[in-house]
């Protein structure tokens, strides 16, 4: 599936001048590539993707995230094509001054107090999933566990059938992975998603409930409701942003615990450490890389940046910068100082960060309660997604 797009790509000749985030070496283990670039060339460039920069230092990533004048969010994915105009999906694709009002519509349903209401259902979802495979003594945790948690929680929030989750995952795979190189697949998936949700939007406009779709329909911007296309855009965005991101974060965390029994035992013995451990997993295995379009020439960290290029805004690389995080490549589950950028920096901070934290915490706690002993199955490889969101897509575990 995900591997198809890389098979035909020319190999990278020099990562400082020809980087490619779809390269199999990046997909399988990007960390040495980023460490090397950070030393040699903290803002690399490639002619691929119609021209794009790659910052790998925390300082450069932060400077770019904060400079919304030079770096527009009108495109948030580095792709091989740049259709004009880009498809708007506010607020992630908005710049000031349009960003704030759009974002403020989405923030109230995602506060920590709102997330607490979801916790019982989230725990139940995890246990329903574990029930299906625990007796087998083994499972592919990416396909049978982590994959289903965020999609069922968001379906619950939207009040649509949790059983439609597999369809949501397929659309997101088409948009975020296949869509990087294939515009037709992307547009088809967006269209299908819009058709699916249009019916719900119509029904809940007539008879609103207390679900997230109804809350977006009833939200007011300057006293007026959002046009139906924008309502659909926001729902699409919530799904795209909220599913394989957290799927990836939970998967990487369990992958770490499978190969690090000492951390696993410590979390079982000291459950109060869980919040700090979650932040460290978010730092070390941040799944999400965003993008910006350079709209005016500027200089970042001494490096001239030219308009017309894209920027691959690698929060995961920033999180491994030893100038910001001592022993950056080591996972320290009681790290005390941790200003990680897994949810972004600046105005585009992830709306769903509290939801992601809840899902990660619940997924790992319930797993450790039921399956305290587990390890990687040496006979089956772990595989990783490619593109904008990084996480395990095959995660074979043996229990006990």
């Amino acid at each position: 599936m995900a591997q198809d797009t890389t098979r035909t790509r020319p190999p990278v000749t020099d990562w400082t001048t020809d980087w490619d985030h779809l390269d199999p070496n990046w997909r399988d283990n990007p960390y040495p590539i980023w460490d090397d670039l950070r030393e040699k060339c903290p803002i690399a460039h490639t002619k691929r993707f119609l021209g794009a920069y790659l910052p790998t230092s925390y300082a450069a990533v932060k400077a770019i995230a904060y400079d919304t004048k030079s770096f527009s969010s009108r495109r948030v994915v580095v792709r091989e094509v740049r259709p004009e105009p880009p498809m708007p999906s506010p607020p992630i694709s908005s710049d000031p001054p349009h960003h704030k009002p759009a974002k403020q519509l989405l923030l109230p349903p995602f506060t920590p107090d709102e997330m607490k209401k979801l916790e019982p259902r989230a725990r139940a979802i995890c246990n329903e999933l574990i029930d299906k495979f625990i007796a087998d003594g083994r499972c592919d945790a990416a396909q049978m566990y982590t994959r289903h948690i965020p999609v069922r929680v968001i379906a619950h929030m939207l009040d649509v059938p949790e059983s439609d989750g597999d369809q949501f995952i397929q659309w997101i795979h088409e948009i975020l992975e296949l869509g990087i190189t294939n515009d037709e697949i992307l547009m088809k998936a967006v269209h299908e998603m819009s058709m699916y949700f249009a019916g719900y939007v119509e029904a809940r406009t007539r008879k609103p409930g207390d679900d997230l779709i109804s809350r977006i329909i009833m939200a007011r911007q300057d006293g007026k409701p959002l046009p139906p296309q924008e309502v659909l855009g926001m729902i699409r965005l919530l799904l795209i942003a909220g599913i394989d991101t957290t799927w990836s974060a939970i998967g990487s965390s369990l992958w770490h615990l499978a190969k690090t029994p000492s951390d696993r035992q410590r979390l079982i013995d000291e459950p109060k450490l869980m919040p700090t451990a979650i932040e460290e997993f978010l730092r070390a295995y941040a799944p999400v890389t965003m993008a910006r379009e350079v709209v005016q020439d500027t200089v970042i960290e001494g490096c001239p940046i030219k308009a017309g290029n894209m920027v691959l805004l690698s929060f995961p690389a920033a999180n491994r910068d030893p100038a910001m995080f001592p022993e950056a490549n080591k996972v320290i589950i009681d790290r005390q100082e941790n200003r990680h950028s897994a949810f972004g920096l600046g105005i585009h901070r992830c709306v769903g960060s509290n939801l992601a934290r809840l899902e990660m915490t619940v997924a790992i706690e319930e797993w450790l309660k039921r399956i305290p002993e587990f390890r990687l199955d040496p006979a089956i490889p772990v595989t990783w997604s490619e593109g904008t969101v990084r996480g395990p897509r095959q995660l074979p575990f043996i229990f006990g």
């Binding site: 995602f110 506060t111 005390q336 100082e337 200003r339 950028s341 920096l345």
Partner: protein, 71 residues
């Protein structure tokens, strides 16, 4: 009051982006508005038993929005 010094926390509202790290680490010192943006509770004075929490809140704010003022 700590050793005669008054310690206060303050959230810079221009910098805060609602990561909620301070609220998670020092719930007695910070409160959130309806958008999830943080603000110090009351005058921000940090009781002695909350000092460690205050410094943790500062050390974990990705936007460097949490300030500690020692007077």
């Amino acid at each position: 009051m700590t050793g005669g010094k008054v310690v206060r926390v303050r959230v810079d509202p221009e910098k805060c982006q609602g990561h909620n790290r301070c609220k998670a680490l020092a719930p007695a010192l910070f409160e959130l508005d309806e958008y999830g943006n943080s603000k110090e509770i009351g005058d921000g004075i940090v009781p002695e038993d909350q000092l460690e929490a205050a410094y943790l809140a500062r050390a974990n704010c990705p936007e460097m929005a949490v300030e500690i003022i020692e007077e």
